[in-house]
Amino acid sequence: MALDDIINGDEELKNTYIPYRLAQFDGKTYAIGYTLTTEVYYYNKELFAQYNVNVPKTYEELMNLIKLFKGKGIIPMAMGNQDPWVGSLPYMFVFDRIAGPFKYEETCFDKTGKFTDPEYIRAAEIIVEIAEAGAYPNNFNTLNYDEAKALFTSGKAAMYPMGTWELANLAKEMGDNLGFFNFPDIEGGIGKSEEDWVCSQDGATSISAKSSADKTEAAIKFLKFIFSTERLSDLAMSGALVPAKGLILDETKLQKVSIDIYSQLENVKYSIIPWDNLLGPNVGKEFNLSTQSIYAGKNPAEVFANLQKIADMEWGSK
């Protein structure tokens, strides 16, 4: 059953709830998630301090960072694209910054847009720009996931685009040295780094519409209980990442990185869901393979035309 009234009617739920497109149907919300996975650019604070640089706020600054680190013999960004989804992460960020958070919905959700639209190709050109500036290690397109991670944790790479499932491991290896930032804004683009984050929620909790009245009432009570600010804050303190804002966190007991993530979450207006999840096992895999081919030097227009063909065959549109 639709949960909008319950969420809006309860003070605590209304303050903590972060809207999530996949939990919605026909404009109404049907589930609340209690685990969050987001994807960010981790960075090595020590290396940044050593070369006196700050977190990039614009695309120009990011490119300058890449050139600077490369000049000093440090790999600017660790990336192991042997699992092709890894390389699609920068692509999703760049696409959002150029075309805004809703454009990808046309193609990935509504199936009305096309991969051959100019924004997709422009985004591909930009990720090639980043790769050609020397941002990634040699042979990154076939580099193993674990090896790339090791490059970052051993201090050989300054930045590392990756998801928060690695947060615990990275924090263990790097402690307070670990920082993160969201991909910066691109000038002239629509998406904003403050508001648009690549994240997905799990642990969807919903209430069946078919239960009897008193069972439904008990379920609603339970929902309000487990999603109360106190319960969510406790869950966050235990180390899990929770998709909620306005939590009460004990800064002394939680890692700085996690605290920073929660404070950034306050500003999140839009959750970009990783595209390969939305597109399904066929088109999603082909999308990842497409970005991998583009890194390998294939022409983006051709690659996306191919991807569109596969999408058309999958979804039956002409």
């Binding site: 040699n138 076939t142 066929n282």
Partner: protein, 295 residues
């Protein structure tokens, strides 16, 4: 006792249990698979009958499938090229009675007993751009900066896998040929030498024709197993990069078990089965007139 064993009803009765088990394990699943190929099923929901739709999509709209057919054929011919001549040459050399003959026979046969999975994993590391044996040897003797991803570049991925497969199975075909050569009557060789034949003429006119049944067996085995090749591809390249090393079997796996299009995957497996049957029939016909039964 003999009366009992040659009694036909007794024979049928004794064979019956094994026949039941065989039917359950081989023919029935094959027929079921062919049936599934005419449906649309995701293993979870309901099974919808869709007639020839899967086959139409497969042959007309699936570009990856066309690439798979090409890759499978390339895989087959390169495998034959790498394994058969070498196996033949080794078998001729190792039946001459040279010193250490038995040692070398055993050595070349040994890789066959390893599991395909462990050989694939080993070659995965052999081909590794940084830590692999191949690149390190090239660095030792030449370019110090050389770094090439053999399994990650589309031009070399498939061929690299065939080399790994050849490494494991040359000994297999060599052993088949050795057993064939060993059964050629010694008198033929003696007679040929008396008539003044040199080594090459012995090979061409005696060994090669007498080995025809073995060559036929070897070719049928290598053809059917190359057409079906899956584990090497799956482990070393997973069909990549971007389907450059995708073969029929790996495409079938991807469609049936990853994308949960079981009907479509069954169609691919049916096509593969037909391909294997056709190639076996062709090979048998080609060899029919060349195989001498008894001299």
């Amino acid at each position: 006792m003999e009366k009992v064993l040659s009694n036909k009803p007794v024979i049928s009765m004794l064979i019956f249990p094994a026949l039941i088990i065989y039917c359950l394990v081989v023919p029935i699943p094959v027929i079921a698979s062919v049936y599934y190929s005419f449906t649309s099923w995701d293993l979870i929901g309901e099974m919808r009958f869709s007639g020839l739709q899967n086959y139409v999509n497969l042959f007309l709209h699936d570009d990856i499938f066309r690439l798979c057919i090409k890759n499978t054929v390339v895989f087959l011919f390169v495998s034959i090229l790498l394994q058969e001549p070498a196996a033949f040459i080794f078998s001729v050399l190792l039946t001459k009675g040279v010193r250490g003959q038995k040692f070398f026979r055993n050595l070349f046969f040994m890789p066959i007993v390893f599991s395909g999975v462990s050989v694939s994993l080993m070659f995965y590391f052999v081909y590794h751009p940084d830590a692999g044996v191949v690149n390190n040897l090239i660095r030792l003797f030449g370019n110090k900066e050389f770094s090439f991803a053999w399994l990650g570049e589309e031009k070399t991925a498939l061929l690299s896998v065939t080399v790994a497969l050849a490494w494991q199975y040359i000994g297999y075909h060599m052993t088949i040929y050795i057993s064939g050569i060993s059964s050629i009557p010694k008198e033929l060789f003696e007679a040929a030498r008396i008539d003044g034949a040199n080594e090459w003429m012995v090979v061409k006119h005696i060994i090669f024709p007498m080995l025809m049944p073995m060559i036929q067996v070897s070719m049928i085995l290598i053809t059917t197993s190359s057409l079906k090749a899956f584990d090497y591809i799956y482990i070393m390249t997973y069909g990549g990069p971007a389907h450059a090393s995708e073969v029929i079997a790996s495409h079938m796996y991807s469609k049936a078990f990853v994308q949960l299009k079981y009907g479509y995957g069954s169609a691919i497996s049916t096509v593969l089965m037909v391909l294997c049957i056709i190639s076996s029939v062709i090979l048998t016909k080609v060899f029919k007139d060349r195989v001498y039964s008894d001299v």
